[in-house]
Every structure is written in C-alpha cells, then in structure tokens.
Homo-oligomer: 249 residues x 2
C-alpha cells in the first residue's frame, strides 16, 4: 500500500483524489485545504486538515495548488516524507531545499465539468533521488498507463508546447465558434473536422497533415478570408498564415 496526502482542493487535486480513491493500492491519508469548507466534499475519502503542522508521515505528499504559490507554500512544510508538486512550469528545485523533492506532473487539461480517464493521462516524473523516483513511478503507475521520466528543463518545454496545442488551439475553436454563431451556422458541423484534425497527427506528422490556403500559397483565398474578418481576428489569421507560409515556401 502506498500512502499519499494531497495538499489542495482545486481542479488537479480533485481529479487526483478521485483517481487515487479508485485504486486498490493507494491510500489517501490526509487532504489539506486552506478553508475546511472547500474540502468537505472529500470528507469520506480522507482526513481533512487545514494546518500543515498536522501533516502525518506518508510515502508521498502532493502539492496541488496554483503555480505561483508552490514555492512559498513548500517552505511551510516540515516533513521527512517525499514532497512533490504537480506543475508543468515550476522547477523541482523551487521546492523547499530541506525536503525530499520531486515532481508529479499529469499532462492534461482538467475541467471540473468533465470527467476523464486517468489511465490515458501521461504523468511526468522527476525526483532528487533514485529511491524517490522509484516510489513516484509506483504511485503514477497505479493510476496511469503513461508514465515518463522528464527533467525540469524538458518539462518546461513540454508545458510551453502544451500551451500551443491546448490553450491556443482551444482559442481557435472559440474563434471558429464565434464565426459560426455570427452567421447562424451550427458549430456542431465543425466537430468531426476538429476531431479528425486531432486524430490525424497520431498517424502522420503535423507537417505532413498541413493543408489549406496558406500552405498552397493561395493568396486569392487568403485575401477573401481576411476581408470577412474583424481586425483582431485578421491579426491572428495573418500571423498564422505567415508562419505556415514560412514553413512550406
């Protein structure tokens, strides 16, 4: 049995608590939340605390809070347990130097509104000792089939790449949606295209999958498109078109 405590009650914390609760070989010992009320939903899953002095020794303590609070927060922890954070953009060494440190980064987009199968979520691990890494690997494997060892520098790049393929891509979906809404076209018509665009790159590289007027250098169509767009959307269209042209021409 692996014992863990989760510090945080936000999005990532909630999904981790849910995933660990479903395993047979991981036990959640404690859940820390600044305000006890926010964590009441978890009261059947673990002991709820709001004072870090009450932390009990466990195999792994997981800090799952906002990126910019992790470092400061970790300095309030006094524990001999292995302490990890779950952030893509924070270095392992930003954690309190007195701790046994590591990173347990699930690379996925979490919404409270949408459940997700943790088994398919890549978990990127890092630790300051081989023993700790082995421990984390065991823990990650309990909830996911995709476990990777990734150092802080690689993880930073991965997080940056994720902003492009997730945050920015989602914003392009929103622009597509707004163009449809403006002309009373159901956005649903675009769903199969969105799905296929995402599926395609598992079989062929994004470079090979590229199509469209920018790739074809079809300036006539590009001009027609620009004429239909608001100024802010024109800017996005132009920058991406230029970048695609530079890639292919």
């Amino acid at each position: 049995m692996i014992t863990v405590s989760i510090l945080g009650s936000g999005n990532v914390a909630t999904h981790l608590i849910d995933a660990f609760s479903k395993t047979t070989n991981v036990k959640i010992t404690q859940i820390y939340s600044r305000n006890l009320e926010g964590a009441q939903q978890f009261k059947n899953k673990a002991n709820i605390i709001n004072d870090l002095q009450d932390l009990m020794p466990v195999d792994v303590v997981i800090i799952a809070i906002s990126d910019d609070e992790i470092s400061k927060f970790s300095h309030k922890i006094n524990s001999k347990s292995l302490v990890v954070h779950t952030s893509g953009s924070i270095s392992m060494n930003d954690l309190n130097g007195n701790l046994n440190k590591g990173v347990f980064y699930p690379l996925q987009t979490f919404s409270r509104e949408k459940n997700i199968d943790f088994k398919t979520i890549p978990i990127c691990l890092e630790a300051d000792s081989k023993d700790s890494l082995t421990k984390l690997h065991k823990l990650a494997s309990a909830i996911s089939n995709e476990v990777y060892i990734i150092d802080s520098n690689q993880r930073k790049k991965l997080h940056l790449a994720a902003v492009f393929v997730n945050n920015f891509t989602n914003h392009l979906y929103e622009i597509g949606n707004s163009i449809c809404e403006e002309y009373s076209v159901p956005f649903e018509i675009l769903h199969p295209l969105i799905k296929e665009t995402a599926n395609k790159i598992k079989k062929i590289s994004p470079n090979k999958a590229q199509t469209g007027p920018a790739k074809r250098n079809d300036n006539k169509t590009i001009a027609k498109h620009l004429a239909q767009l608001s100024k802010s959307k024109q800017e996005i269209y132009s920058v991406l078109t230029k970048s695609i042209k530079n890639t292919f021409n």
Copy 2:
C-alpha cells in the same frame, strides 16, 4: 439507383469515389481526369474519360477539382444533368449559368495517407431548385449521416471557421512538435492532451473550456514562455495571448 460522375482524381475525388463505391444505391458512371494515367487506379470502378464531350447523362455530376479552376472548368461542361462542386469557398453561382447547379461540400480534411469513415463527415448541400436539393440529399445520405442545407454565404463562413479549427490548429500542433523535438521530448506525450482538447468542446463550449496563463492573466508565466521562444513563435504566442486576454479580461 442514383447515378453520378466524378470530374477530378485528386484527394476529395478519391475519397468520394471510395465512399460511393461502397454503397448499394449509388453507381459511379464516369470518372473524368485530365490525364488518363492519373485515373487508372479507378478503372475497375467506372468508365474513365478525359474529354468532357464524352459525359453521359447522370443524376449528379460532381466537380472535385481545385477551387480556383472550378468556375472556368464548369463553362466547358454542356450537360442537362445537375452539376455540383465540392468547394467550401466557391459560390454556387460561380458555376456556369447554363447548368442545373448545386454544391456538395464534405466538410473534412482529407489526406491520401489516412482513411476516414465517411458516415461521420458533414455534407453541406445547396441547389438552385427544390428537386435538385432533394436529389442531392438522397445522394449525400447514401454516404453520410450528417447532411446539412447551407447557403453559399453560410458555407463561406463555415469554410473560414474551418481554416481556424483545422489549418491553424494543425500548425499549432506543428509548433508543439518542434518545441518537443528541440529538447528531445517525445511529442507522443502531448497526444492525449490534444485529443482531450478536441473532445472537450463537444461537452462544454470552447469559452468554458479555456484554461492557461493568458486566461488567468498570469503575466509572470507568459514572460517566462516568451523568453523561451524564437521570434516567429513569440509573435504567434503574443497575438493569441492578447486575443485570449481580450476575451476574458
């Protein structure tokens, strides 16, 4: 039995020929290709021609060639059959005025390298008479479960929206891929995130699904990201970040 002839032997033509061949109620009568050699792969599926004078009467003639050649090409056709094109960006009335006209636009990204289930591909129809529209609806329903009536103006907007959610999104995947390659991180780690980003918007709107530093107005992370990017990628990052900020702040 519905009879069709396909004019063209490119990507869209190939996928249509393939889809129609699998039905029991559509018969491909002729396939036109400028050079006969290019169409030899279809010789078991229909009569191959390279002279438009040889066109036989059928229910629907489908022009599946490059957007910018459609109008001129249609003026070489002398037929009483219903003649449609398959383009998202070309108006129905760009077709030869002497023809019975329509549009048969499958909204999907086609690659020769990747097969696709036509049943899930939305087909957007338009016609200059009710009879023709009924005929097209029957034809489209033979290969797809997603048939929509969309006029030329709506189709133009749909095509524009498709550039954002397909062409531009794929380019963001390519940027993600290149960031990974640069630091020897396997791009595969991002596949589940890409898939979930695409799936999510079927359940919640892109607006609700948005996450990331731009939405949070997290300028510290944004600055860290920009510092890691080449100039051309910085430009894309900045424009999209600005647009997300404007949407939410």
